[in-house]
């Protein structure tokens, strides 16, 4: 008696990513849809007949019909697999809501929406106990019913839920609390959880799969699905399998010169995917001369082109004109005096023009360098 399935969650199909450029937003949205195909391949490779999606299949209740249809079509394309979808806090199963609409649109034959807390036969040996969310915040533990749920003797019991495990300190975005020992209490062989976008094991039989395709600069470990095998009544193995197209990372660095950026470059190279599929957010701190600052700007331009996306936060980076900055441009007298005046304001965080002065300095140096370049050309 063996049951194999793929555990995934937090697809959030239709997430628009429009805080990014239009092109990237499109790619990120497409990657979430494409991920369904990758999950199907992983399932087939692992001889799993079922894919359990532990909530937040769709990004929102008001999602357009086209987005919904796209997701369903992708699942329908893998007809040998059963897709079992659980409503989460992003897509709760409210009467007249998203899942009613999905049913109106028409669920493909191999896709099941688990919108009621009722045992669902998973093959001949197992029963799935889903804990769908019916509101964004039901204010109770939706898995509680599993304790008293009956199942034929000898059947493997598998729980499927979406929320935060109590005491785990999850920073998942829902306010749904799930008892940490639910699997034990309800006699589950496995409890498949969603909401925490990173992959995480709460206990040997209780896992968050995380989102298969990251959607934010994470503090956890997204980008995987779990291939689960249950033999007898015990969880035999839970295998974490990479499924993401894009990798997201955030970093911070204190810099005194461009040389300090090489450590960052090394960390980019060490990521699981090539630079063109990397989204990086870097916060720089420290203090640079105007020339170094310009060099960092140039570095940003280079890496913005190499990476799929680079956010460089230089707001904490102080600019301090060095004597060499203007000497090298042949600037003297009034320009240097202007730089000195601006620098005084830029160095004083309480100065009304603190931030403007920082920028004015950078521009002063930039314009002077530009003029000098043109004059020499």
């Amino acid at each position: 008696m063996t049951v194999r399935f793929v555990h995934t969650a937090d697809w959030q199909i239709g997430k628009p990513f429009r805080n990014f450029t239009t092109g990237l937003a499109g790619e990120l949205a497409a990657a979430r849809l494409d991920c369904i195909g990758r999950i199907a391949e992983i399932a087939k490779k692992n001889a799993a007949a079922h894919v359990l999606v532990a909530g937040d299949v769709f990004d929102g209740e008001n999602l357009g019909n086209l987005e919904i249809r796209r997701g369903l079509e992708r699942m329908a394309a893998h007809g040998t697999l059963t897709w079992l979808l659980l409503p989460g806090n992003h897509d709760p199963a409210r009467p007249g809501g998203l899942w009613d609409r999905i049913r109106r649109i028409g669920l493909p034959g191999n896709v099941t929406a688990l919108t009621t807390p009722e045992p669902y036969a998973l093959g001949a040996d197992a029963v799935l106990l889903p804990a769908p969310l019916t509101t964004k915040n039901p204010g109770r533990d939706p898995t509680e019913w599993m304790d008293s749920a009956t199942s034929p003797p000898g059947f493997i019991r598998i729980g499927l839920a979406h929320g935060s495990v109590q005491g785990f300190g999850s920073d998942g975005d829902s306010a749904v609390l799930i008892a940490r020992d639910r699997a034990a209490k309800a006699g589950l062989s496995y409890l498949a959880l969603g909401d925490w976008h990173g992959t995480r094991s709460i206990a040997a039989d209780t896992w968050y799969s995380g989102t298969p395709e990251p959607d934010r600069f994470p503090d956890n470990d997204p980008g995987h699905v779990l291939a689960v095998t249950i033999e007898g009544q015990r969880t035999c193995s839970v295998e974490k399998i990479a499924s993401a197209k894009f990798a997201w990372a955030k970093a911070s660095a204190a810099v005194r010169s461009t040389a300090d950026l090489t450590a960052l470059e090394r960390s980019f190279a060490g990521m699981s995917v090539e630079p063109a599929r990397l989204l990086i957010r870097v916060a720089l701190s420290g203090s640079l001369s105007l020339a170094e600052h310009a060099a960092v700007e140039a570095w940003r331009e280079t890496w913005a082109a190499r990476l799929r996306h680079l956010e460089l936060d230089m707001s904490a980076l102080a600019v301090r004109p060095a004597a060499a900055d203007f000497e090298s441009l042949g600037a003297s007298g009034p320009l240097v005096e202007a730089a000195r005046m601006l620098s005084a304001a830029a160095d004083d965080p309480r100065h009304a023009d603190h931030a403007a002065a920082q920028l004015a300095l950078v521009r002063l140096f930039g314009f002077a360098a530009e003029a000098a370049r043109e004059a020499s050309a």
């Binding site: 450029t21 008001n62 357009g64 809501g97 023009d353 931030a355 314009f367 003029a371």
Partner: protein, 750 residues
Amino acid sequence: MKLLALRVAAFRRFSDPAAVEDIGGGVNVLAGPNELGKSTLFHALEAAFLQRHKISGAALDAMRPRAGGDPLVEADFEANGQHWRIRKQFGRSNSAILTDLATGRVEARNAEAEVRLEKLTGGSGELPGRLGLVWVRQQRSLARPDPDHDPQTGKGKPRGEKSALVDAIGQEVEAAVGGELFASVQARASAALDALVTAQRSAVKKNGPLDLAQRQRDDIAKALDDARRLALAAQDRLERIAVASQQLTDLENEQLHANAADRLDIIDARIAAEAKGRSVRDLARETLKTRILEAQAARQSQLALVGSLARLKDMCAARAGAEALEVEIKTFVAGINGNQATPARIERLIALERVLAVSAAELNAQAATVDIAFVPGGAGRLSVDGRPVVENTSLTIAHRSVLDIAGIAAITVTAAGAERAAAAAMRADKASSEIHDSLQAIGVASTDEARALGEQRARYVEQLDRARAHLSGLAPQGALGLAAEIAKTEALSGGADPAKLMSEIAALDASVTTAQRQHEVATAAVLSDDDFRALSFEREEVRAVIERSASDTARLKLRLEGLRGEQMGADEDGRAGQVPGLEGELERADAEARRLDAEVAGLKLLADTLQAIEARTRATYFAPVTKRLQPHLDAVFGSAALDFRDAFALDSLTRAGMREDFATLSDGTREQISVLVRLSFAELLAGRGVAVPLILDDPLVYSDDVRMRALCGVIANATAIPQIIVLTCRETAFSALPGRRLTVTAWRPG
């Protein structure tokens, strides 16, 4: 640079070729009437040095003479110690030719010729440069000398004039103002700001990047607001759907639990049974009533019967009495009827008897008495008054009577009171006759008999009255009436048997008791009226509950349907789903707008900082100009000082401590200052070795004689300027100005 000659053909006023030759160093004056074409010559000068040979459109049209033709301009000039000729043909076969006059060699043609010319004259491309600083057209001398401003519009325009000045001032002030690099940084900061904000820096520049970013941000924010409102409405609707669904489920459960329909069935059945019971009871009650009435009726009949029978008995007894009485009455009546001695007759008889007695008495008293005694064999022979007398008699003759004795005599006897006797006799006769009649009627012979008969009759009458009174008491209608009543009563009682009636009554009483019992049983079997009413009321309540819950259900279903429909519409519309996308867009647009805001703040701070530094060094910056200008101002205005704004723009004149804005000065003063400033510019340029001719086109039209003389003095003394050309129509005004007099001559273009 010095101008040597200027020639024109087909140029505005000059349809015919004309020339001004022999222009010399120092002061040159071309004086002549208004129509001479001085301004045309000035225009030709600009065309030769400042306009491309390829110009077209309005600028070309402005050069053409009214008669038409393609303008030609030729200028000989000295530059860099050499003599040159620039010849520009405008219009169809346009060309520019630069010739070295010493060798007669064409040095350059067309575009190249123009580039060479710029280098020789210090111009910069199409910009007037230093020429513009000192070449002043007629009427423009009133304008504020303001380098790099279009004299026609007064608006800022790059004309290369300021940079020409700065070039001229050159190293002298470079150290102080930061030189070219400073100006360049300033220009770049200004240009960068220009892209973002208006020239006054007070408002965002329309359609600039900041404006676009802000508008985009605002547009997105608005769209997001709309989408959020729709999303909120959708959330609210979904919550209402959830609530209504729950209510519906609750209601249905409640209906299931309350079992109102079943309850209604039970109540209905009870009420139906109860109704049946009640009709049984009502029937029993009616039966009971009937039975009671029947028994009562029987009792009544029985009483009536008994009464009838008693009365019948009485009536029969009365009838016997009545019949006897009637027989008696008949007897009495017959007795009475057979007896004529009525009381009236009796009383009359008695009265007549008295009359008779009285009359007899009276007759006796009055009458004669004749007694007749008959002799034997005499009887019958006498008649008295004719009537035989047969027996002895005594006759009383009351009056006269004739006694006739047959065959003997008639003897007449007359009474003495014959008359009275006769009356009494008459009365007595009458009474006797009446008595006779009456007795005869009575059927008796005497009054006594009559009297006895009368008494008998009276007794009968009394007896009859008594009998009649008795009969009236016994049978008012008489025996026959009574008999009829008896017959009637007998007929009514119909032979009824009181005993039988009594047994019937007993039977009826028994049936009353039975009916009573049945009624009691039927009454006991049904609810009391109050309880029945309560049951009916309960049924109405249950019915109301059912109807209410049915209408609640229907209402909820309708509401749910409506909400679901709305939600489906919203889903189709899809705008609510735009919220996350628009939030992302807003985040981007807002970041961009804020970045540009910060850019503006930074650039403004940079520009302000640079300007503050520049302002501090302005005195140094303007020193070369003011140094040259001051002696001229002193010469014309006594003691005065001019202030410049940025970029050498003239700002104000200060005289005797009074500061006056340039625009408020009189026309004369303005044109004088204008000429002096340009003269100073020309001196400055000459001093820097980049001299250009100072050309004044009708410059001092408003000036009074005193100022005119002073100005002529200044111009005459401006020997630092290698060449000054004055074009004027005021020949006498400038007569004091020494210098070469120029004339316009005919020209034959080669």
